[in-house]
Amino acid sequence: MSNQYSHEKIIQLRKKRSAADRRFKTYGLIATLMGMAILFFLLFTIFSKGYSSFQKSVIELEVSYDQETLKITSDSTYEEQVKAKFFRVKKNAIANALPNLNKKDVKLINKMFSINVDKEIKEYFLNNPNILNTTQKIFVTAHSDVDQLLKGNARRNIEEKKRKLNDRQLEFFDEFVSSGRLKTKFNNFFFKNADSRHPELAGIAGSFVGSLFTLMTVFLLAFPIAIGASIYLEEFAPKNKFTELIEVNIANLAAVPSIVFGLLGLGILLNVFGFPRSTPLVGGTVLALMTLPTIIIACRASLKAVPPSIKEGALAMGASKMQAVFHHQVPLALPGTLTGTIIGLAQALGETAPLIMIGMIAFIPNIPTGFTEPSAALPVQIYLWVESSERGFQEKTAAAIMMILIFLFTMNALAVFLRSKFERKW
């Protein structure tokens, strides 16, 4: 034979081939590691940008609750106290925040405090009414610009014009820091407040509650409809063209872009049926229609997993088909369907685009109390904050993302827990 391989040649070839084999395996390993690395980098970015948002900067002020300034007396009623002139007390306190301030300085230093300071001074008084005519040292919320500088998110060694705080304000800042009057503490506003134009006051409570209402709507609509649809398709549907149409439809609906569902909500729910705009009701309805295919697929799988012998046993005992399904098959499939629903809800929780379409993007500064009240939702809140040009909102965005990820993680953990606790092997 003409092309006989020598022994060495064969060994060489084999070496080459195994090197190619190893190389190929390495490519796979690199790809997998890249995926993991990206995930950790993503989480790290969000955590490192967001954790500082759980702290806020506070400045110590000496507030003199003088009865002349407040225009109340020691025996004023609660209503009179509420209406007392706390803004004058605040003005005095800020004017005397540092020694030897001229008029211009006071203006500048006033900008270093949050606009919420009056309220904080008032609240402190209303909680301890016997401090009338005394001078108290209280920590009040600082302005977001001060906050960002203290946390190191804003740089100070750049041109004065590009900075939010000018040179004089930086002097005040250093004075506050060196005397220990400027410090950070737990940011209760972030968990207590709704959205605000002022980063230091903005919180996620409003959007969180809005998301809860929305998810509740999704659950109330999607869960019964999905179970009904799966029971019909698994047990009762005749084998004909229409059933086939439904099946194809569900498969394709699962892949329709979410923004198209937003257009459906806008074009049909808002414009034709006149649902109230920007509300959890319409947001939840749109998201329910969107997650329906996901939940139906999960429900059908769990109905299928119940062994037919159980249903057949019931039928043999004289139960009608409806009884066999509803009394025996559905209860056994319930944990599986719940798991599927929770996964569908987790998908709905992160969905932003359809909610923007139906107007849940409006600026809502208060916490919603019902399904038909305009409200925000967590992902839309994140979007609003990403788009905001104010620096202080960037850490809020990352922190809100942390909250939504924790929310998602809890839901998925619940799903896994339900599955492992109630899943039965037949």
Partner: protein
């Protein structure tokens, strides 16, 4: 209205249940025969007949009440005499006055009268609503109670109702699709009555806010969507060229090389990556990847835009990695073991088996996964809204600023929406294109995957 009607309906069906149960028992006692079905089925039958009329009234009212009241109020205004009057604005004003949101002072006497008319109509309507819900519930129960005879097969009848309900549930998905098609088509037709469909599909200039052609009114611009389609395509290409190799190699590694332990760690992590909301990726693109791309471009001497196609595409690719990898993983796993063993048996090593046997066998499924991934990339909204640009540039340079279909939809619908303005309606035309393209990609991909599965089953 919602909570009160809920209470009324719940109380109504509860009393219908009680009434039905006691009635059938006494009827059976009188005739001294056993009922065909259990008494609770008769009671359930009554419940259904109480609930259905109530629901019909409720939804009828919700859909028609506003429309009718508005028409009645607006009937007093002559729009032909006053062409400047806008019915929508007028009714909003009347409603505000009626609910004391805006002060009646300074408003014309007609509006004040109309507001009073509106409030009185609204009051009448509310009273009539509760009355008719009650009457219809009672009527329903009365009609149904004639059937409360022991010989009536209540169980059969109830089970039929349940079956109808189950059928209705399964048609919701179909109705949703019909709703999508209807809303997109309807508004798109209105758009195409003002803008020619050829200009939209083949025009190369998208400037909705600048009048370009002669004889156009100041508010009307040009709607040539080619730059938008091109931008969408460019970002999709960038995304897929990130996602396909990484996703595919991950799938190969996980299904062919990795030990079960590694699989059990990596798979849930990939699922986390898949479950991250897209707005989070948008944030990531905005604060981390976009600045990086900009500096990278500068180091190459290219002037990169801060909202470049590359940044959005890269992050979108990351989003699609788990999607591609899990679909390909399924596909590779369903290649029959015998093919692997045959290849290894004639002396091929693992890499050769994968490259020469498994991948060719799994190719249709992988193509399907690729197409599904591409359809996701086209329909993805939040990443591009945050990280891609808004300028409709017709370019193939990924460092430049391009815009996508979804971005333009969001731009058109944020803020004031006037549904007689082509700028608002353009969102629906773009949505229609998006829907059709993703639908075709999906049908195609699902068909390929299905055919492939059938081959090995």
């Amino acid at each position: 209205m919602f909570y009160w009607s809920l209470i009324i309906i719940v109380l109504g069906i509860y009393s219908a249940y009680i009434f039905g149960k006691s009635r059938i028992k006494s009827n059976a006692k009188q005739l001294d025969i056993k009922t065909v079905s259990l008494p609770t089925y008769y009671a359930q039958y009554m419940m259904v007949w109480c609930l259905l009329p109530a629901l019909i009234v409720y939804f009828g009212w919700i859909i028609f009440e506003n429309q009718i009241i508005q028409n009645l109020v607006l009937a007093n205004f002559d729009f032909e005499l006053n062409p400047t009057l806008n019915p929508g604005l007028l009714i909003a004003e009347i409603k505000n006055v009626a609910s004391n949101i805006s002060f009646a002072e300074g408003k014309s006497i007609e509006i004040f009268n109309a507001a009073e008319h509106y409030s009185s109509l609204k009051f009448t309507s509310t009273v009539a609503f509760y009355l008719s819900i009650l009457i219809f519930m009672i009527l329903g129960v009365m009609i149904a109670s004639r059937k409360l005879q022991p010989t009536f097969r209540a169980q059969k009848s109830i089970e039929n109702y349940i079956k109808y309900f189950l059928f209705f549930c399964s048609t919701v998905a179909v109705l949703t699709t019909v709703g999508i098609v209807f809303s997109l088509l309807f508004e798109s037709l209105r758009f195409f009555s003002e803008v020619s469909i050829f200009e939209f599909l083949f025009g190369t200039k998208w400037y909705p806010y600048i009048p370009i052609r002669e004889g156009q009114s100041g508010s009307q611009g040009s709607f040539g969507a080619i730059p938008i389609f091109a931008g969408t395509f460019l970002i999709m290409i960038v995304a897929m060229s990130v996602a396909t190799p990484i996703g595919l190699f991950t799938a190969i590694y996980l299904s062919e090389y990795a030990s079960p332990k590694i699989r059990s760690i990596v798979k849930p992590l990939l699922e986390i990556l898949a479950g991250v909301p897209t707005i989070v990726y948008g944030f990531f693109a905005f604060v981390t990847v976009a600045p990086f791309v900009k500096t990278f471009g500068q180091s190459l001497g290219i002037d990169a835009s801060p909202t470049s196609a590359l940044a959005a595409g890269l992050v979108m690719g990351i989003m699609i990695i788990p999607f591609i990898s899990s679909l390909s993983d399924d596909v590779i796993n369903s290649v029959p073991q015998s093919l692997r063993e045959g290849s290894l048996g004639v002396g091929a090593n693992k890499a050769e088996t994968i490259k020469k046997v498994i991948l060719p066998a799994a190719l249709p499924g992988i193509v399907g996964a690729f197409l599904l991934g591409a359809s996701r990339a086209i329909g993805e909204t939040m990443i591009v809204v945050v990280a891609a640009g808004t300028a409709p540039n017709l370019t193939a340079n990924p460092f430049e600023n391009v815009t996508t279909v979804t971005v333009q939809i969001v731009i058109a619908l944020i803020g004031d929406q006037e549904f007689d303005d082509p700028r608002t309606l353009s969102a629906f035309a773009l949505g229609l294109v998006l829907f059709v393209i993703t639908l075709i990609l999906n049908i195609f991909a699902l068909r390929i995957v299905k055919k492939y599965r059938e081959r090995y089953e």
